[in-house]
């Protein structure tokens, strides 16, 4: 794996291999000494042009537990008003001997440009680019789903998510998490239904490998998991995507009543950070079926696997 820019970069075999490596990584994280020598001497640069404490910390922990040297560069504010910063930063990183770059950027396609514009030869891991994709989030969601559903089926679900039914609810239009999840979950055999007001589904969504619905109540009884997306408050009012927070919560929020519409085994997922009371109520977020905290810890294992396959994969394979 030279780069990880989109969930579409992974075929079924590659995605399963990554999830299996993540399982091994997770197993090592249960030990008292969590650190592995795997990436000793390699340098991973976390390049964050956009604030994201959770993702940054998760990647930092992942790289450090593989013994890589980690340089974190937060360039908030110097982002897209002038594009030179991305190119010049790329040249600088190349000169400093970076082996991999983890890039978070507000511009869709920024990771793709960093990987393919000819600015550098460093491996690039997309940690979220604009409203495009966030592949490691999708991987950690798939990892979490796979674990939980496998437990339920007595460990015999096979390696993938064939037949699992997943609803993704909320601001699909602006969500990189939704784009990556639709692609990856489909690759792994799951059936995805996007649920959102029509204003928050992109024109063209009808060509995506999933179903769409405007009726959350109708979808919930049919799913194995519901993935709730964060809704940014600036999307209403001036943004005009929906009339008010109250109306959004009434029609698309996962509250206690809707929680009880779910099948007994179904999971509640959220990539965080949550707007409690808007897209998800406290009752739903804190319920036993919520995997929200588990997703965070799984994130480290999945990112360890991604870094490992990016930097050591060739030798290991």
């Amino acid at each position: 794996m030279k780069h990880l820019l989109s969930a579409a970069d992974l075929d079924r075999e590659g995605a399963l291999a990554l999830l299996d490596v993540a399982e091994q990584m997770a197993a090592t994280q249960a030990r008292e000494i969590k650190k592995l020598p795997t990436l000793r001497g390699r340098t991973v640069v976390n390049l964050f042009f956009e604030d994201s404490t959770r993702t940054r910390i998760s990647f930092e922990a992942a790289a450090k537990r593989l013994s890589a040297d980690v340089i974190t560069f937060s360039a908030k504010g110097s982002s897209v008003s002038k594009g030179e910063s991305l190119k010049d930063t790329a040249l600088t990183l190349q000169a400093m001997g970076a082996d991999a770059v983890v890039l978070r950027h507000s511009a869709s396609g920024a990771a793709h440009r960093l990987a393919h514009a000819g600015w550098s030869r460093v491996g690039v891991l997309n940690a979220g680019d604009g409203t495009h994709e966030h592949p490691t989030q999708a991987l950690l969601d798939a990892f979490t789903l796979r674990r939980r559903l496998r437990e339920r089926s007595g460990g015999d679900l096979g390696g993938a998510l064939d037949g699992a039914r997943v609803a993704v609810v909320g601001d699909v239009l602006h969500s990189r998490v939704a784009r990556s999840n639709v692609l990856l979950l489909r690759t792994l055999g799951a059936d995805v239904t996007l649920v959102a007001p029509p204003t928050l589904l992109p024109v063209g969504v009808e060509t995506w490998p999933c179903r769409t619905s405007w009726d959350l109540d109708a979808v919930l009884p049919e799913v194995d998991a519901v993935m709730v997306l964060r809704v940014q408050r600036e999307r209403m009012g001036g943004g005009g995507f929906f009339p008010s927070a109250q109306e959004y919560a009434r029609r698309f929020g996962l509250d206690g009543r809707r929680l009880r519409l779910l099948p007994e085994h179904a999971l509640v997922m959220h990539p965080g950070p949550m707007n409690r009371g808007l897209e998800i109520s406290a009752e739903a977020a804190d319920s036993p079926r919520s995997t929200i905290v588990e997703q965070v810890s799984n994130g480290v294992a999945v990112r360890m696997a991604a870094l490992y396959l990016l930097l050591a994969g060739e030798d290991a394979a």
Binding site: V80, S81, K82, G83, E84, L86, K87, H105, S106, A107, S108, G109, A110, H112, R113, H116, A117, D129, G130, T131, H132, E133, R176, R179, P202, V203, G204, V205, T207, W208
Partner: protein
Amino acid sequence: MSADQTPARTTATGEDAPALLVRRAALLGGEATDLLLEGGRVARTAPGGSLEAPAGARVVEAEGLVALPGLVDLHTHLREPGREDAETVLTGSRAAAMGGFTAVHAMANTDPVADTAGVVEQVWRLGREIGLVDVRPVGAVTVGLAGERLAELGAMATSAARVRVFSDDGRCVADPVLMRRALEYVRSVDGVVAQHAQDPRLTEGAQMHEGVVSSVLGLRGWPAVAEEAVIARDVLLADHVGSRLHVCHVSTAGSVEIIRWAKARGVDVTAEVTPHHLLLTDELVRGYDPVYKVNPPLRTRADVEALRAAVADGTVDVVATDHAPHPVEDKDCEWAAAAMGMTGLETALSVVQEALVETGLLGWADVARVLSSAPARIGRVADHGRPLAEGEPAHLVLLDPSARREVVPEQHATQGRNSPFRGLELPGRVVATVLRGRPVVLDGALVGDDGGSR
């Protein structure tokens, strides 16, 4: 000062141009014909091989070459004054000549904006001194392109530059009252409003065509309706006030339908399409390379097909380049930060050959119409776009339709390296461009290379 009072420069009239005999050129792709050019005019035409060169005349052997009247671009960005780092009148003139153009309309979105007689005269004079191509400045419709009040259209029309095309290109004249007034007002100077049709509210932050590809790429969409709604409004306005309207860079199948309807209804509307919208689609954006970032954006294959058919049936009158050079750094960045626009002067004829001639949609006489006579008529450029016949102005281009060449932007005369056709192999090559009887391009190269001294 009017043009008539300007001290006559020899280069401006061509009267002293030495005689030039073009031998055995396929006139509009037809019969091999000899053309004797003298005094800036076509002195004689005769069957191929029948004319003797007068004493001292230069001879251009044109067997196998197609002769067309010099091309006229209705939509060029020369960037000067203000963005000389992107292009100048000199480098843009060179590019135009190399592309077979003998007249170009220089868009008004310079810095300062071409919204006064002073600025349009400055651009016109620069073009005249350089003398490679006739530069026809376009005047801004509104002061500073701000869309608030009319610029002094009359002053620009009566200036030495004799402006006839008015456009806020780059921005839409979105206010319907202002658009109505502009359409009405230009009637008194035989002018035309060239509208950049783009509803500003529907395209805030827009990055690419809104559709299947934008949904996957997470780039904010520029919906076709934002163009079509403005065109629909404008043809109705033009009809209501009895004015002439020109629609810049039509890019969607829906726009074509509206214009076809308006023409059938008798509205005095004309329209242009760019070479890139005739060849390229939004699928190219998948690699996020900003060389494909342009406004209006690249659309779908269905739109490309509709635009080709529209040129073929005359619904779209003109192919115009929207040549928009940018410095390298404005494209060598992430998509959202990149400038919009593509170069086009030096590839236009090849793209037209590829998209329209080799597909059987147009013959060379039609190419002369869409790239020369129609744009000259719309822009009221009296001595361009004329037939290659005795007594007519001697502006012509000779092209080799059998040549094929790979597009290498580094070899272009424009300062811009942002050609979306980089690496494509396209048919056709401009061998010679003749302005007022004088060759400015010969053997595919600029004559002399000092640009300013001829």
